[in-house]
Each structure stands twice: as structure tokens, then as C-alpha cells.
């Protein structure tokens, strides 16, 4: 009799346990996609998180597969979909952001070969295959000229984050963030019930030089400090000016904040490259940029989204 009563109590306790009640809790994971680390933190019940984690992994995997250098299917719906916003930023930035710089990345050895400074002739030869305005779009298919190599690295991760966030929001998750190697989107509140506290990495040393307190927006950073090599004391990084064929100069890092992560991603590259980004950033009134120049000084352009920092 006593045993039955205990079993009854145990059953009731199990039935009322957080897992069975579907209690929302914080869950986090680290995934590896896009040659980088991707972090998720979502406030939902455990079973839902398990499903969402897989769904986000599937989205990232699909994006990664669709935009891998040299293997793009130019009639794929994802490729055609992303070409639109990429072209818009290309046009708005006067060609500073250009997804057709793949031949330059190859010439400088950032796509597999040994990294080196190419000869001026090699740079000129690579530049002949650069120019997004020469990409046609017919019957739902991109038509690049022969020899053109795409480099979607400046927008694909942000696109992946946007797609993943759409999937998660569609399931009613009210609080969380998804971060693919620094391209991120935060919504709702953090576990302390405050806006998300996003650290902006210092481009020259350990630590962070700024903080964003954001919610309901994305952010992305382009910098000269992760993918680079040095030759004769000069730093050569992977963000190429499509006009010169050489790494863009004058800035160490650019963080862009705004409603869509893929646009933040593309704009951070465009602002990094363009010598006068204020000339085109005004076309994006919902976006703001935090720029660290070559001397380490920072400035803000556009909407600031509660950025705080000091030097």
C-alpha cells in the first residue's frame, strides 16, 4: 500500500517536472560551419531546442553547401535569392562590395594556396575577372562571364543567420541569439532580462573595445586581423578593394548593426573598403557602423544602437 502511494507521488512529481511541463529554459550549443564557430542560445523547452538545433544546423549546412567557392549552382534558389541584396549593396557602395573578387582571393593565396603578394601583372590579370555588373540573371539563373570566381564570404554567413533566425522565430522562440563567427542576430532579452551585451573585439590586441546593447537586430564585423599574412613588415589581409586588387587600407575593423544580418555583413565589407563610407551609408537609415581606423581611433556612422566604448 505504502509502495503504491510512493509510486503515485513519484508519478505526480515526474508529471509536474519541468521537462514534462515543457518549461522554457536557456539552452546553448556550439556548432562548426562556414569554417568557423557558430553559437546558439535560445530560451525554449528542451525538446523544442533539440529540434531547433538540428534545424539551424541544416540551414547552415545548406547555405555552406550552396556558397562554397567554385561549387555554386547558379540556378539554386538560395544563390539567386542572395544575389539580389548583394547586388544592391554593390550598386549602393559604388562597387566597394563585390562578390566577384574570388580571382583576387585566389591570386593572393587566401583560397587554399600559399599566401603571398602577387606580382602587379597577376593582380591585373585577376582584376579582369572582377565586376558584379557583368553577371547576368536570366530565367532564374546567374550567368557569370568565363573565368569569374565568386567569393560569397562577405555575405553568406549573415544570410545563413537570417534564415536560421527566421526558422526559430517562426516557432515562437521569444528570446535568443544566433552567432555564426561574429555575424549575429539577437532578439528578446538575455538571461538577466536585459538587452543582449555584445562585445566588439579589439582589432589589435586581446579584449574588447566596445559593447553593443541590442535586441531585435543583427551585427557583423569585417577586420584585417584574422585572415592575414605579413611580408616585409606589411600586413596583407583578405578584404580586397575591387578597384585596385590590393587589400583595402585605412581601417582595422568595421562593425555594422541593423535589422538584417546579411546586409550588416555586406555593409561591413563595403564600409571597410570605401574611403568615404558616409557617402553611401545614408542609403541605409536603419544601419549604423562602428569604425576603427588604422590609427586605432574609432568613429560612429549612422544609427548607433547603444554602442558604448572608450580608448
Amino acid at each position: 500500500m505504502k509502495a503504491k502511494r510512493y509510486l503515485g507521488c513519484l508519478g505526480l512529481a515526474l508529471a509536474l517536472s519541468p521537462a514534462c511541463l515543457g518549461r522554457k529554459d536557456w539552452h546553448s550549443s556550439t556548432l562548426f560551419f562556414f569554417d568557423t564557430v557558430c553559437d546558439l542560445s535560445l530560451n525554449c523547452d528542451a525538446e523544442e531546442y533539440r529540434i531547433l538545433e538540428k534545424e539551424i544546423g541544416d540551414v547552415f549546412s545548406r547555405v555552406e553547401g550552396s556558397f562554397a567557392p567554385g561549387v555554386e549552382d547558379f540556378s539554386s534558389s538560395l544563390v539567386v535569392e542572395l544575389f539580389g541584396p548583394a547586388r544592391q549593396v554593390y550598386l549602393d557602395s559604388g562597387g566597394a562590395f563585390d562578390i566577384t573578387v574570388g580571382s583576387l582571393s585566389n591570386a593572393w593565396g587566401f583560397h587554399g594556396g600559399p599566401q603571398h603578394v602577387p606580382s602587379p601583372e597577376q593582380v591585373r590579370a585577376a582584376l579582369e575577372h572582377v565586376g558584379m555588373d557583368r553577371v547576368g540573371l536570366e530565367n532564374g539563373r546567374l550567368i557569370p562571364p568565363p573565368g569569374m570566381v565568386f567569393d560569397w564570404g562577405g555575405i553568406a554567413k549573415g544570410f545563413g543567420v537570417d534564415l536560421a533566425v527566421k526558422a526559430v522565430l517562426g516557432r515562437g522562440v521569444k528570446n535568443g541569439f544566433i552567432n555564426a563567427g561574429g555575424d549575429l542576430y539577437c532578439w528578446g532579452m538575455n538571461p538577466e532580462g536585459k538587452p543582449w551585451r555584445v562585445g566588439i573585439k579589439n582589432p589589435r590586441s586581446e579584449g574588447f573595445f566596445g559593447v553593443l546593447n541590442i535586441s531585435g537586430v543583427g551585427a557583423a564585423t569585417s577586420g584585417d586581423y584574422q585572415r592575414y599574412f605579413e611580408e616585409a613588415g606589411v600586413r596583407y589581409h583578405h578584404i580586397f578593394d575591387p578597384k585596385t586588387g590590393y587589400p583595402a587600407r585605412g581601417k582595422r575593423s568595421v562593425t555594422v548593426v541593423g535589422p538584417e544580418t546579411k546586409v550588416c555583413d555586406a555593409l561591413s565589407t563595403a564600409v571597410f573598403i570605401h574611403p568615404k563610407p558616409e557617402e553611401f551609408l545614408g542609403k541605409y537609415p536603419e544601419y549604423g557602423a562602428i569604425i576603427v581606423d588604422e590609427k586605432g581611433k574609432y568613429c560612429l556612422l549612422g544609427k548607433t544602437y547603444g554602442a558604448s566604448f572608450t580608448q
Partner: protein, 211 residues
């Protein structure tokens, strides 16, 4: 704006300043600078010397590390209360000679002698994850060097003096090996090609990061 929000608005910038100061600008009461590829070998003696000189060194000092563009001869110096202390005059001649034999160095290590300025609190151990699985836990106080097999190679980790860092990796870019050491909750070093993470467990100051 209610009174609480108003007070918070006034106070927040003051609170944020120390947390957001760039690592290059030393804050607090002083800092020790060591130019050497083997900071673990030399920091204990240098810190002991600082203590001997009456300089307060926290039990868990913040240690930062950055690469220098051009290799330089090994060197060290300290600043305390705005004054440069030439440690070479303080009985460290043997250490100095040993360092010079190492040849040129590419790593500058800065030990912050002031108050902590970032991330979570000091930690006891670092966690090593490969392919999402925890494969090791390393006490930060013990001096150790371990290599972990990962996809297409290995990642080598060194611990000691309360921090851990990646000293070598078979990956192409070697971003992990040039990453600063980790010592406080929430900090981590990632080698994406090897699916390797060296992290300090616990919640850090930042929810997430960009850059």
C-alpha cells in the same frame, strides 16, 4: 524616464569604461610587459621579482598576449603608478641572459597588475572540447603542455600561472595559436578546422561577441 532608469543612465558609462578599455591601454596601477615566445618560462620569476620590490601582484592577474609584427629581441619591463621600473637592474641578470639566447620573439605578453577589467571571474580550470565532446579538464594553476588529436592533426595547449593558451596547431591559418590566453569565465580559444575549443567554463561578462 523613472528615477531608477535615470540613475542607471548616469552610472552605466562610468561602469562601462573599465570594461571596454582597449587591451593596449593598460589600466589600473601598473603592468608588466614581456616580449618572449615562452612567457610561461619567465613570468613566474618576473612576478616574484615584482613582489620582492613591493609591487602588489594580484593572485590571478589578467594576462594578455599579442603578436608583434616584426620579431624582436626578448625583453621585459614594468610600469607601476606611472613609473617605468627597469627590472634588469633588480637581480634578473641570469634570466635576462637566458632570454637573449632564445633568439627573436614574436609574442608580447602583458600582465595587468591592476583591477580586473573584463569577462567573468578567475577560474580554476579550462575545458577542452573536440567535436563537441569534453575531452579534458586542465587545472590552470599547474604548468602543463598537452597535445590533442583533432581532424587532420593536433592542437597543443599549455597551462600555468592561472591561464591556458594554444601554443601550436596543425591548422593552416593558426588563428588559435596567435589567440591571447584565456583565464576567466566565458573566455575561449577556437580552432575551427580542428573543431577544437579551449574554454573557461562559466558565464562571462559578454553574452556573445562580434569581430
Amino acid at each position: 524616464m523613472n528615477r531608477r532608469d535615470f540613475v542607471r543612465t548616469l552610472i552605466t558609462p562610468v561602469l562601462i569604461l573599465p570594461w571596454t578599455r582597449s587591451a593596449g591601454s593598460s589600466q589600473g596601477e601598473g603592468s608588466l610587459h614581456l616580449l618572449s615566445d615562452h612567457p610561461e618560462d619567465y613570468l613566474p620569476m618576473l612576478i616574484a621579482e615584482l613582489r620582492r620590490l613591493g609591487i602588489k601582484v594580484k593572485r590571478d592577474p589578467i594576462v594578455r598576449s599579442v603578436g608583434v609584427g616584426e620579431p624582436q629581441p626578448p625583453s621585459f619591463t614594468a610600469a607601476w603608478n606611472g613609473r617605468v621600473i627597469d627590472l634588469r637592474r633588480s637581480g634578473l641578470t641570469a634570466l635576462w641572459r637566458r632570454m637573449r639566447e632564445d633568439g627573436l620573439s614574436r609574442r608580447l605578453t602583458v600582465v595587468d597588475l591592476g583591477e580586473p577589467n573584463r569577462s567573468g571571474g578567475p577560474a580554476e580550470e579550462a575545458m577542452v572540447k573536440v567535436d563537441g565532446r569534453v575531452v579534458d579538464r586542465l587545472p590552470l594553476k599547474s604548468s602543463a603542455c598537452r597535445a590533442y588529436p583533432v581532424r587532420d592533426g593536433h592542437v597543443t595547449v599549455r597551462t600555468g600561472l592561472g591561464f591556458a593558451r594554444v601554443t601550436d596547431s596543425s591548422c593552416r591559418q593558426k588563428i588559435c595559436a596567435s589567440s591571447p590566453p584565456v583565464s576567466r569565465a566565458g573566455e575561449r580559444i577556437v580552432c575551427a578546422p580542428g573543431r577544437f575549443i579551449l574554454e573557461i567554463p562559466g558565464r562571462g561578462y559578454w553574452d556573445t561577441t562580434t569581430g
